[in-house]
Symmetry: C2
Subunit: 341 residues, 2 copies
DNA sequence: CCGCCGATCGGAAACGTTTACGGCAATCGG
DNA sequence: CCGATTGCCGTAAACGTTTCCGATCGGCGG
C-alpha cells in the first residue's frame, strides 16, 4: 500500500494525497477528509525513507550514551531515567530516535559523524559520557547540532545541559548547617569531570558563606562508586576533628560513607549526617534512607531537546558560544540527615 | 557527496561504485581498491534512506520498553543493563536501532505496527512490558518478527526470551536448605506475570523435592516494589511458625523484607536469611548485601537478537509456535544469607 | 578463424515520496 | 463583459541508491 495505490483508489493524484496527508493548504476540505478516511481504512503508512530522501530531513535525532563505564560492568544508575525523559520529550516534539553505538576498540573515530550523515540525522543528544571519547570529540567539532547532558564537550553547534550542581551542593550544605552541623566534610567525584568540580565549588562557596572552616583533610576525592565512598568515609572519620556531617557528590559514595560510619560504630544520622547527590533508585531503598540532591531528569530531558531544536532551527552557526542550560535541583530530606527518625 | 559525485571522480559509473562498496563480486580488485580509497578520502557515506528505499530493507530493528511503570515514576532498575546488552548485541549483528515510543492515552493502538511499516523495520525487540499493552498486542498478532524479553506475548512470529526463572528460584531455595533452613517462606510478584508465576513454581518444586512443608501463609503476593516486600515480611514474621528464611521473587521486595526484619528486631542473616531475584544495582549497595539470583543480561540480549534473526530469515511463518529461549541464572551469595559474615 | 564464455563495466529503470510548475475553472473588481 | 485573481488539482522531475540487462573485450577450444 503506497501513495500511488491510495491515490488511485481516491480518484486523485499522488500530489493531492501528499498534500492532504501533510496538511498543506492547497486542497479542499472535502477531498482531504475523503483521503484521510481511506488512508486509515486501508492502513496506509507513509514510507519514511522515501520522505527523508526527497525532503532531505529525517525528523530523527541520534542518541548516544556512556559506553565507557559499562565496560567495567558498572552502569550509571542515573541513566535510565534520563533516557526515558529524553525519549518522551523527543517524541512529544515529533522526532524519531535512533540509538548510536560507540564502536569497539578499532580506530573508528568519526563513527558517530558517519552515522549522522548516513541516516540524515538532524542532531544528537549525548548522555553522560567520559570526556575523552574521541568519537564524540569529532562529533562536537563538526557542525552537527549536539546537546549533551552532563558532558564536557564544546563545539561550534554544541550546547551543554546540566543540573545546577553548585546550587545543589550549596543547598545540601545549608541544610546540614541548619541542622546544627558545623564540621561538614565532603567527598567529591573525579575532579576533571565538570559536575564533580561544580559540586565541590558549591560546597566551598556554602562553607565560606556560612563561615565554616574547611580544613584540607575535609575534602577527599572519590570516583562516584561505592568503595571510594566507603574509603573516604573511613578516612574522614579518623581525622582529629571528626566531621559531624558529610556531603557526598554522588549517592553511591554517600551510601559507602554510611557503611563506613556503621563499621566505626557510629549511628546515622545521630552521630553522622550524610547527604548525597543524584537520587538514584537505591537512595530510597537503603536504611537509613538517603537524603540527597535530586536531579530533575525530566527537566534535563526537555531542556536538551529544546536546546537541540534551537540549534537545528538556527541556520547560522552561532559565533557566540551557546549558553549552557542549567536545571535546578531539589533537596530530598530523608533519614540519613533527619535526626527525628 | 553522493555516489554520483564519487563515481565521477573515480572515472567509473555509479553501478560500479555501488558494487565496489557492497563487496559484490563483479568488480576488479584494482578498481575496488581505488574506489574504496577515494571514498574514505572524500568522507563519503552512503545514504541509508535511499538504500532502504530501493533494497526494501532497512537493517534496522525497533526497540520498545515498559512505559507502564514509568508513569508512576517507578523504573525497573533491571532495564538499563538489558538495554545495553541488546544494543551491543544488535550492533554486533550490524543492525541499526530505533527507539519506539508508546503513545499517550489516545487510542493509538497499532502505533508500533505503524512505526514498523513507516520505517521498514525488520523486527522488534520488546523489553519487560505489562501484559495488557494493546499496542504490543497488535504488534504480536501481526507478522512482524518480535522477540520479547520477559514478556507475556505470543503471536505468529513472536518468540519469548526469558531467564530460567523456575530453576533460579529452585537454586535459591536449595541454597537456603543447605544452610540448614527448613522453614522457608516466599514473597512473589504479581502472579499474572509469567516470571512471577514461574519463580513461585520453582520455589514450590524445590520445597516438595526437599520435603519441606509449605503452609499457605508462607506464600504472599507482592508487586515487585519495596513497600510490598516490607509488608509481606511483616506478615511472614508474625505467623505462628515463623520462617527462618525468605525467598523474594524480586530484589526490591527482598530489601523490604530485610527492613521488616530489622523493624522486628531480628538480625539478618542470623535470625532470618533472605535471598532475592534479579541482582539490581542496589543489591550490592545495601547492608547486609543481598544474596540474589542474578539474571544474565548479556545472555538475554544476545539470545533475543539471535532469536529475532531466526524469525527474520525464516520466510515461512512457522506454524509451530517458536520455542521460548531460556537463559540460565546464577546464584550470588552475599551477606543476607551468609551466616559467617 | 569463429563462436562462446567469463570477467568487468555502463545505461537506465526502479523504489515511494515531495514539490515546482502549470492548467483549468470559478470568482471578482471595474 | 473582460482581465486578473484565487482555489484546487495533475504532471513530472527530482532525491540517492541498487540491480537488471546488455555491451565490450580478451581468451579459449574447436
Amino acid at each position: 500500500m503506497n501513495i500511488r495505490e491510495l491515490a488511485r483508489r481516491s480518484g486523485v493524484s499522488t500530489a493531492t494525497v501528499s498534500r492532504a496527508l501533510n496538511d498543506r493548504a492547497e486542497v479542499s476540505e472535502a477531498t482531504r477528509a475523503k483521503i484521510r478516511r481511506l488512508a486509515s481504512e486501508l492502513g496506509y503508512a507513509p514510507n519514511e525513507p522515501a520522505r527523508t530522501l526527497v525532503r532531505r530531513r529525517s525528523d530523527t535525532i541520534g542518541l548516544v550514551w556512556d559506553s565507557g563505564q559499562e565496560a567495567l560492568g558498572q552502569h550509571n544508575p542515573f541513566l535510565l531515567g534520563l533516557l526515558s525523559a529524553v525519549r518522551t520529550a523527543l517524541s512529544d516534539a515529533d522526532y524519531h530516535l535512533m540509538l548510536l553505538t560507540t564502536p569497539g576498540e578499532q580506530d573508528q573515530d568519526g563513527a558517530h559523524l558517519q552515522a549522522v550523515q548516513r541516516h540524515n540525522l538532524e542532531g544528537v543528544i549525548v548522555l553522560t559520557t567520559p570526556p575523552d571519547d574521541r568519537c564524540l570529540r569529532v562529533l562536537a567539532d563538526s557542525t552537527v547540532p549536539c546537546a549533551g547532558i552532563d558532558t564536557a564537550f564544546t563545539g561550534p553547534r554544541t550546547v551543554r545541559v546540566s543540573s545546577d550542581n553548585a546550587a545543589g551542593a550549596e543547598a545540601a550544605v545549608q541544610h546540614l548547617y541548619e541542622l546544627g552541623h558545623r564540621r561538614i566534610a565532603t567527598v567529591t567525584g573525579p575532579l576533571h569531570l565538570p559536575p564533580a568540580a561544580e559540586r565541590l565549588a558549591g560546597y566551598l562557596r556554602a562553607c565560606s558563606r556560612l563561615g565554616l572552616s574547611v580544613p584540607p583533610e575535609y575534602v577527599t576525592e572519590g570516583d562516584f562508586f561505592l568503595a571510594s565512598g566507603e574509603a573516604a568515609g573511613k578516612r574522614l572519620l579518623s581525622v582529629p576533628d571528626r566531621p559531624t556531617a558529610i556531603f557526598a557528590a554522588g549517592d553511591q559514595m554517600a551510601i559507602g560513607a554510611i557503611h563506613a560510619a556503621a563499621d566505626a560504630g557510629l549511628s546515622v544520622p545521630r552521630d553522622l549526617a550524610v547527604v548525597g547527590f543524584d537520587d538514584i533508585d537505591a537512595a530510597a531503598l537503603v536504611r537509613p534512607a538517603l537524603s540527597t540532591v535530586a536531579q530533575d531528569q525530566r527537566g534535563l530531558g526537555v531542556a536538551a531537546v529544546e536546546a537541540l531544536r534551537g540549534l537545528i532551527d538556527s541556520t547560522t552557526v552561532d559565533t557566540v558560544e551557546a549558553q549552557p542550560r542549567i536545571i535546578p535541583t531539589r533537596l530530598l530530606i530523608r533519614g540519613s540527615s533527619r535526626p527525628g527518625v
